[in-house]
């Protein structure tokens, strides 16, 4: 893959990942973000060990932009207003779920 193809692919993948996360999070709220983060981590685990170009375009740009850390915090603040335990559970579930999903993806390659 040429540098130009990687650059174009990077832009398309990052734009698609960002807009998909935005739409799903708007539609489903924290559950949507949780689903996106766990499925994105699983897909990135599956991609580990692929070539540099694939990892840059699909991994760094597409899945990197699809998943988010910053989005968790405002959602956790909103959940904490209802119940601090709910916010703590949401953050814990996201991190442990995403790590377990990435490990599961890694184990399949």
């Amino acid at each position: 893959m040429t540098s130009l193809a990687v650059a174009v692919g990077f832009c398309i993948a990052a734009a698609a990942g960002t807009v998909l996360r935005w739409r799903v999070s708007n539609a489903l709220g924290p559950c949507g973000t949780l689903l996106i983060n766990i499925s994105g981590a699983f897909a990135l685990g599956l991609l580990a060990g692929t070539g540099d170009a694939t990892m840059t375009v699909i991994g760094t740009a597409g899945l990197g932009a699809l998943t988010t850390v910053s989005g968790l915090l405002p959602e956790s603040v909103r959940l904490a207003r209802a119940s601090p335990l709910l916010a703590l559970g949401y953050i814990s579930l996201t991190i442990t779920g995403a790590t377990a999903a990435a490990a599961a993806g890694l184990s399949l390659v």
């Binding site: 994105g40 760094t60 899945l63 932009a65 998943t67 850390v69 910053s70 953050i91």
Partner: protein, 133 residues
């Protein structure tokens, strides 16, 4: 949710992802990701606090932003794509695969503490400015 907003979110997402990728050319992978996550959390803290203040503003009722979320291009677009949960999860899963359980907990603790402090710091800047006479 107009096409124009979606376009702004997409462009900001490309810039955020490119900034995260660029940070890996300057720093070792795990540190680069930590820096990207912390910068994104400062900005999202600043953005959400600023948005809340604008919604509450009694001075500009006709022009204040009444939407329930901060600027989508900055929050969901730039900050969302600058930070990455999948990259963090893969980093932690790789350490686990290598049997480095202590390193997993160290990175986890460092990331959670740094991102939370960054978020609070971003909010504090807006709140402190709002409190000034």
């Amino acid at each position: 949710m107009t096409l124009r907003t979606a376009r702004a979110v997409a462009i900001a997402g490309v810039i955020g992802a490119a900034a995260r990728w660029a940070s890996t050319t300057q720093l070792e992978g795990a540190w680069a990701l930590l820096v990207a996550n912390v910068v994104g959390c400062v900005l999202i803290g600043w953005s959400t606090a600023r948005h809340e203040r604008m919604r509450r503003s009694p001075h500009r009722p006709g022009t204040a932003d009444r939407s329930p979320t901060p600027s989508p291009w900055l929050a969901a677009g730039f900050c969302g794509a600058l930070t990455s949960m999948s990259a963090l999860a893969l980093q932690l899963a790789t350490y686990l695969d290598e049997g480095r359980v202590g390193t997993v907990f160290a990175w986890l603790g460092l990331t959670i503490a740094a991102c939370t402090l960054a978020f609070v710091a971003g909010r504090t800047v807006v709140i402190a400015r709002g409190a000034q006479p």
